[in-house]
Amino acid sequence: MNWSVVIPLMLFLLLIFVIGFWASKHIRTTNTSFLSEYFLGGRQLGGLILAMTMIATYGSASSFIGGPGVAYTEGLGWVLLAMSQVVTGYFVLMVLGKKFAIMSRRYKAVTLIDFLKGRYQSKWVVLVSAFSIIIFLFSAMAAQWVGGARLIESLTGLSYISALFIFALSVLVYVILGGFRAVALTDTVQGIVMLLGTLILLIATIAAGGGIDNIMADLQAENPNLITPFGAEGTLSASYVSSFWILVGVGVVGLPHVTVRAMSYKNSKAMHRALIIGTVVVGFIMLNMHLIGVFARPIMPGIEVGDKVMPLIALEVLPAWLAGVVLAAPMAAIMSTVDSLLLVVSSAVVKDVYLNYIEPKATPKKVKKLSFSITAILGILVFLMALDPPDLLIWLNLFAFGGLEAAFIWPVVLGLYWKKGNKYGALASMLIGILSYIIFHLYLPNLFDMHTVVMPVLLSLAGYVVVSIATSSRTTVPE
């Protein structure tokens, strides 16, 4: 075992635990309602924490482990694709924005589904959305856990199962202890680790490659396509790369674990600060991290498994102890996505299904107990699933997120800004979004040379608008 790498990683995990314990004090002593505190941090987030928790939440294993690996294979074209994520830094908070903050307070919403319930007043909307969140995010979570365990495995030389166990235990402990506040605070630490980690690694990689000029010349000599926008084999077309603007850019407005953060901030000032910090930090991290993948190629040619690029290059160009510190960054990225997913899925089970339809009058004490135990049970289930993992981490992950985007983007956005939207439209939009995503994914992937997500998002828009107008005589507009 490589102790100089393992010790910084363990210190990092320890720090995360300390934050979890500290945040758990809030849960024990809070005078706001338990649910609002556990699932939403009592709506008290400030600007820095809001920005960091949003970035950390979507800067997931797919981009952090998979991303640099694909950039290694495809060259600068993949960095171009990754930069479509800069838009998330401002778009989500601006578009959901103040209206979402006001309306979610009015509905006393703690989850995305609470918001949909308040807006559409429909049991079916609630059940369909809860069901899709549980199914899709559960599978996304499993993919992330596999990523986390693989990373620990490759860094420490532990077996996959013990690595998975360490990962699962660390995440479960602080999520159950500290709830949303712990998640947001640890996200902030993790975001800072990602920012500094990628910066240090990028600089060291450039130095090891003999400067950017040198690296570019090496890449061009190996395969000129690596420095074009079109990928190593010339297969990344403009329309395909652009369609990622929907998948990882503007479409994240529909992701439940992202939207819930857009109802968690304290006031306008926090939101304004988060817009600026978020845009700068997300762009910086994405650019650095993917450039690392590209620049690693001439230094360490012939890496077969994309997921190993990041750990191997760190061990190659940095002193071992610093590599340990830097490699806490992808670890941080995975943990911070997993913790928010875990909390969102638990809230869907406890708040949206159980309290709405099974036992509305549960005592506060019971709700508390239930929340902790559901989080724990979900964690254990994911652990069991991740024991025998499916291979294609990045695509499994994108499947889940794409499906949720197609389901929720219009019921949320048009629900906020279009008065004529109604429950029939929302239901149609969700069903069309999910079903068409699955059908396109299986039978017509990447139709018209664009990512699969594009058509379902357009179809669900059509469904929302057409059905809302067709049924407008049957509903009265709330407000």
Partner: protein
């Protein structure tokens, strides 16, 4: 609720600003990437060691977006209260 009307007017305007920024961001990113990057790699110009399409599209494009967001937030965004009269439980 007239107070609502004013708050929502501000919220709607800011949402449209977000859409506008995203459209501008996309055009800048796309234009430089495929406008300059479509040429043969042998004829690329380099800025700070990076191919010029990449520098303009991804590096400069990111810096410009960051500056735009800062300006827009500082000069156009308005602080509004989120709580209702009487407030909620927080």
């Amino acid at each position: 609720m007239s107070e609502d009307k004013e708050r929502f007017r501000i919220a709607h305007r800011e949402a449209w600003i977000g859409v506008g920024l995203a459209v501008f961001n996309f055009i800048w990113w796309f234009g430089f990437a495929y406008g300059l990057g479509g040429a043969s790699p042998a004829s690329y110009d380099y800025i700070f060691g990076l191919p010029s399409w990449f520098f303009f599209s991804c590096v400069l494009g990111f810096i410009i977006m960051a500056v735009l967001v800062i300006l827009v937030v500082k000069f156009w965004f308005v602080e509004v209260p989120f709580e209702e009269e009487g407030g909620e439980d927080s």
